[in-house]
């Protein structure tokens, strides 16, 4: 059994993933992730020396595109789903600025 994930670890990962978790959710997450990681732990005992990692199962290289322009979206369509369209762009709270 792997040690239970620390709360700080769960908090850190939640911050990396930009997920706001309540205290209760963090506790549940720590337990569930620990159980899953415990199950997964077995593969770390396999002898994998010299085994190449497989990140693609297909044997394809160089899928390249010719440098030819296509039509871009009309701006209204690009902005059609935007939660905060403003001045022809996508409005967001400024990075670095903190609200009161």
């Amino acid at each position: 059994m792997v040690a239970m994930l620390e709360r700080e670890t769960v908090d850190h990962v939640a911050r990396l993933a930009r997920l706001a978790l309540s205290d209760a959710e963090t506790d549940v997450m720590a337990v569930e992730l620990s159980k899953i990681l415990d199950h997964i732990e077995a593969i770390r005992t396999l002898d994998l020396d010299g085994v190449e990692p497989t990140s693609h199962v297909i044997d394809v290289v160089n899928a390249l595109r010719a440098d030819v322009p296509h039509h871009s979206l009309p701006r209204e369509l690009a902005l059609a789903s935007a939660p905060d369209p403003v001045d022809g762009g996508f409005g967001v709270p400024s990075p670095g600025a903190s609200a009161q």
């Binding site: 990140s55 322009p69 996508f90 709270p93 990075p95």
Partner: protein
Amino acid sequence: MSGAAVEYEPVIGLEIHVQLRTRTKMFCGCELSFGDEPNVHTCPRCLGLPGTLPVVNAQAVHYGIMIGLALGCEIAPRSQFHRKNYFYPDLPKGYQISQYDVPICGPGKLGEVRIHRVHLEEDAAKLVHVGESGRIHGADRSVVDFNRGGTPLAEIVTEPDLHSADEAREWLNLLRTTLRAIGVSDVNMEEGSLRCDANVSVRPLGSDQLGTKTELKNMNSFRFLAQGVKAEIERQTALLRAGEQVQQETLHFDPASGRLTPLRSKEQAHDYRYFPEPDLVPLVVTEAMLERARAELPELPADRAARLERDLGLSGERARELAFRPELGDFYEAALAAGGPQLDAVALANWIPPLVERIGSDADPAGSRVSPSALAALVALVSSRAVSQTAARDVLTLMVQSGDQPATIVEREGLGAIGGDDSGLAQVVAAAIAADPDAAEKVRDGNMKAVGPLVGYVMRETKGRADGGEITRLIREQLGL
């Protein structure tokens, strides 16, 4: 006491982002643009819409290979793209597609600086601050414009081989010139197509260990680069002299104040969680791709400068002046060819700066009214003493204005040189001596500085058509020296 005599040596490495001059973005077919209305060059891909997939622009790969060859890099036979994960509004997918452990170009060298690597990636979008939001009281608001998002970038990383702010600026200029010559980028720092970050540290002179480095960002001109690096070297040196430590941090250069301010530590706490981009297959550089890149590579500026210096006897400075602005080098070499083997290559080279001065310092002489053969003809007239140096400058001014041949202008304006035995120059010199006996006396006594007023008299009388050397010779002759 111990630190009092220690000298410190700066160690500088650069990270340069270059926007490639493709027609379309790195992973989609939207056209590259500058200064257009916001969000008119976007598509599902470069907006990061759900379900979209990237497809690599072949021309960006081609440019990447050309950069690698120009910087003497090893080209990786097989490289791949990774995802670099972080959240920011200018990053539509929540990750940037970049290269990580296997970049397209490995170690190389440009000038005296070793290149660590060159890799391909996509540019972020533009975030424009618009002030206070009406909806959320007190909150600052920004607007994202995705026109730039996804522009192909090559990131060039050097080894820490530079040792002063001036060296850094000069080397960056060599890099810029090289990239412009091979045609892969506009390399315009003001427009952001060339961006430079610097890693700076200092260490006691003679030490072979690197000190703690800081990363300097946002130096978007050559001047700011030199300014920023210089300020940081001074800051670090002062810290070490005072017995304090340099903190590893990222500093933002403010052009307005010339000051460096640390970015907040929260923004620095990145864990990019790189992993191989599953949506893209590996990049394999074939012999055919290499051949094509080699074929398109022109003579590189550094090579050209060396050749002009070695083969034509130009000074190093003049050779670089011509080689680092390929349009000047091209015009010069065209004029040289037009002038034939008799033309003095060094004299011709010295006529390029006066030409540039007359057509505007950023203009391409190929677009002026002066043809390479006309400039060669002017230099030939000067060499044969048919026109004096001084008159030739006036002829050049008229050539730039009218586009006429120098011989025509000389004829029309009566600017031919006065010289030789039957030209009457000797009489003018005699008149000059007669008009200023004091000066003549001083010259006779060995004070050659006093020759000035006499030469000036002759020049005025001949309207600059006489040759300065010939005047001096006649003065000395008539004064019995």
